[in-house]
């Protein structure tokens, strides 16, 4: 696959076209009908949640949130390929992947409501918290890859970053270390064409992102990130390859951020309606749905049936999050060090004294 879709030739790996028709049978992954329907449902759930969150945000019930809208196939395919023991190293825009790993929507809500516990992802095995400083998490992925190799474990790391993130020095260092160490890491770049308002053409003069793999002597492939099957096939292949000790893989997932950068961003300032409409034609859900309907595996009716269920589920998790216990002063201090240094204890005690004074003053 990596030979055939050599990024030097600027080739895009696709399996279905914009209308959901298979155009690349050779690489069509072996997935049962049920698996495909489930994949669609997960993507639909993620999108429903996404749109719902934006409306919560408008109601002032949640802080800034970065929607995944339009990028669901990437997270969906990652979720399907990742095994329980595999590591997920997130950026911040791959909700479906967290959910697939075992994180809950409630936890995500907590995070974007500003609760520390939203980073816990309690029941998700081997997942790092969301990483805000762009691209810095990629080096961690390489480090985790080293541990896997060192201990001969059967694991693969899935690490996320955006197109903007490829400009950071840490992208370079992470891939370069990973290349020389030959560690089992898949670097997934969600190329959604923008870093906030900055278009891809301002990020780099490189023909595409996958091609950057040659700088590290590793495999790279440019995949239609809005094509669930292509993403699944590419990641499955990459995971096999890297898991067998052949070194890291760079997967560029070409996609489009249909929503705003975050709920505080206004994309009309920097992109055109025409562009948005062009990309609407490539919408990942639309395409997978067309495939399913064509195969009689899905229907508008079914969709109308599940969406209200999803909404209810989302609302219920959101409400749970809204009723989360308040954060305590302890929470600020307790995880700073393995054992709290004396001086830090004193700082806490002093604050408590002040709070008592405040109480008494009332």
């Amino acid at each position: 696959m990596f030979k055939e879709y050599n990024p030097i030739q600027d080739k895009l790996f696709r399996i279905i076209d914009d209308d959901g028709m298979i155009i690349n049978k050779e690489w069509m992954p072996e997935l049962s009908d049920e698996q495909i329907v489930n994949a669609y449902k997960e993507m639909l759930f993620a999108r429903t949640a996404d749109l719902q969150i934006v409306s919560y945000q408008r109601q002032g019930r949640i802080y800034t949130y970065p929607p995944n809208y339009g990028q669901e196939a990437i997270s969906g395919a990652t979720g399907a390929v990742m095994r329980e023991d595999d590591w997920l190293v997130p950026a911040f825009r791959e909700m479906g992947a967290y959910l697939a790993k075992g994180a809950t929507l409630k936890e995500l809500f907590l995070y974007f409501m500003g609760y520390e516990d939203g980073s816990l992802f309690k029941d998700a095995k081997n997942i790092l918290p969301i990483s805000v400083p762009i691209a810095s998490q990629l080096v961690h992925a390489t480090g985790i890859g080293y541990e896997i190799k060192y201990n001969n474990k059967d694991q693969v790391v899935f690490a996320f970053v955006g197109d903007g993130g490829t400009s950071e020095g840490d992208f370079h260092e992470a891939l370069n270390f990973a290349g020389t160490w030959k560690v089992p890491v898949i670097f997934i770049v969600q190329n959604n064409q923008y870093g906030i308002s900055t278009p891809f053409s301002v990020q780099t003069a490189s023909e595409n992102i996958a091609i950057k793999s040659v700088a590290y002597g590793i495999e790279g492939i440019m995949v239609d990130g809005n094509d669930y099957f292509a993403m699944y096939a590419a990641l499955k292949n990459a995971a096999k390859r890297t898991g067998e000790g052949n070194g890291p893989v760079l997967v560029e997932a070409v996609t489009y951020r249909k929503g705003a950068h975050t709920t505080s961003d206004d994309p009309t300032k920097y992109r055109t309606k025409e562009e948005e409409e062009e990309w609407d034609k490539k919408d990942p859900l639309k395409r997978l749905k067309a495939y399913l309907i064509d195969k009689k595996l899905w229907s508008e009716k079914e969709e109308e049936r599940v969406i209200p269920q999803y909404k209810k589920e989302i609302d219920s998790q959101f409400e749970e999050a809204e009723n989360y216990p308040e954060s305590s002063l302890d929470d600020v201090f307790q995880f700073m060090y393995d054992e709290m240094p004396e001086d830090l204890q004193k700082q806490k005690v002093e604050q408590e004294k002040f709070l008592t004074w405040m109480e008494e003053r009332k």
Partner: protein, 331 residues
């Protein structure tokens, strides 16, 4: 002020934008760039309209890479330009730390005065805006410890404009930290003309006799609220806006302490190794015999700034300042 001066109500965002506008108009060597400062006009809209006005080669977006942003500014400035770069949030300046400490701060000295790096590195800092991780820190003391740069922080629209104009005109590298919490919270009449406020001097906001209160940035507003409580309690506070973190205006501080005998410094930063400790040292050096109470620091904790739901535990309230004013005065 003479009659010709035109005043306009501005918040800090407007005032900074105005300062940039003036310098861009006046000096073709002035260049403004950073992440999303062009088309978007900055995530806080500080550079709004400037690209349209001055063109893509003078106001523009860069790749997402802070070391690249500051490092290219070093090169540009050596070659004669005067770049004003934006770091989107101060929490993201660290990838550029090497370029700041190893080059921007050292190029003049290294080249024995042959080259200079007149760069302004603007960045919003500080808490209180319900933001994600890394969006609320106040790490100005880190920059204060770097020989070769200056570090300044305005506390009002008026100051922001005048200080930024000085910063752009300075031949040194200036770390210009903007208290984002009060970007839009304070509005005041600001002259539309060009004016500048010298860097390195503190500003006595109000005179007092019982205790000196030093603050800067968004903490000035909290300090002013605390002063109301203090007044009620019959305590006369002298409020100093530090304005310049490095160099520190030793004389203004020491003279005030010589009058009041007591000093409290308020900063949002972590407690240890912060600006307050430096001020305490300065006061011990320059006004030791006048001290009637231990110089007090009111700071954040030596912890990460909590996410929004816990941030109130960390943030400094007017009550907290008053609490310590009272304790210091009663010492």
């Amino acid at each position: 002020m003479d009659g010709g001066e035109k005043m306009k109500i501005m918040n800090m965002v407007n005032a900074i934008n105005d300062a940039l506008d003036i310098k861009l108009k006046e000096d073709r060597n002035t260049i403004v760039y950073g992440q999303d400062v062009g088309v978007e006009g900055g995530v806080f809209r500080v550079t709004e309209g400037l690209q349209k006005k001055y063109g893509n080669d003078r106001v523009f977006d860069t790749p997402l890479a802070e070391s690249g942003i500051v490092g290219t500014a070093v090169g540009m400035s050596v070659a004669g330009l005067r770049p004003v770069v934006e770091i989107q949030f101060s929490g993201f300046v660290y990838p550029a730390f090497n370029q700041i400490i190893s080059h921007a701060a050292r190029m003049r000295n290294r080249s024995r005065g042959r080259y200079q790096t007149p760069i302004v590195i603007r960045m919003p800092y500080g808490g209180g805006i319900n933001a994600l991780e890394h969006h609320s820190e106040s790490m100005e003391a880190l920059f204060g410890h770097i020989p070769g740069v200056k570090v300044v922080i305005p506390s009002s629209p008026h100051d922001a404009k005048g200080m930024l104009i000085s910063a752009v005109e300075s031949n040194d590298t200036i770390i210009f930290m903007e208290p984002k919490r009060i970007y839009r919270a304070i509005k005041q009449e600001v002259s539309e003309d060009k004016y500048s406020i010298p860097l390195g001097k503190a500003n006595i906001i109000s005179q007092g006799t019982d205790v000196t209160l030093v603050a800067y940035g968004a903490m000035i507003r909290e300090a002013q609220k605390a002063m109301i409580l203090a007044k009620e309690a019959g305590i006369s506070v002298e409020l100093i806006d530090l304005r310049s973190i490095y160099p520190i205006d030793r004389d203004t501080i020491a003279n005030s302490v010589k009058k009041t005998g007591r000093i409290i410094t308020v900063t949002e930063s972590p407690k240890s190794f912060g600006v307050a400790s430096e001020i305490t040292q300065v006061v011990n050096e320059d006004a030791f015999l006048y001290l009637e109470a231990p110089p007090k620091r009111i700071t954040g904790f030596d912890t990460i700034v909590p996410l929004p739901k816990g941030e109130h535990h960390y943030m400094i309230s007017p009550e907290k300042i008053f609490y310590d004013i009272e304790k210091t005065v009663k010492f």
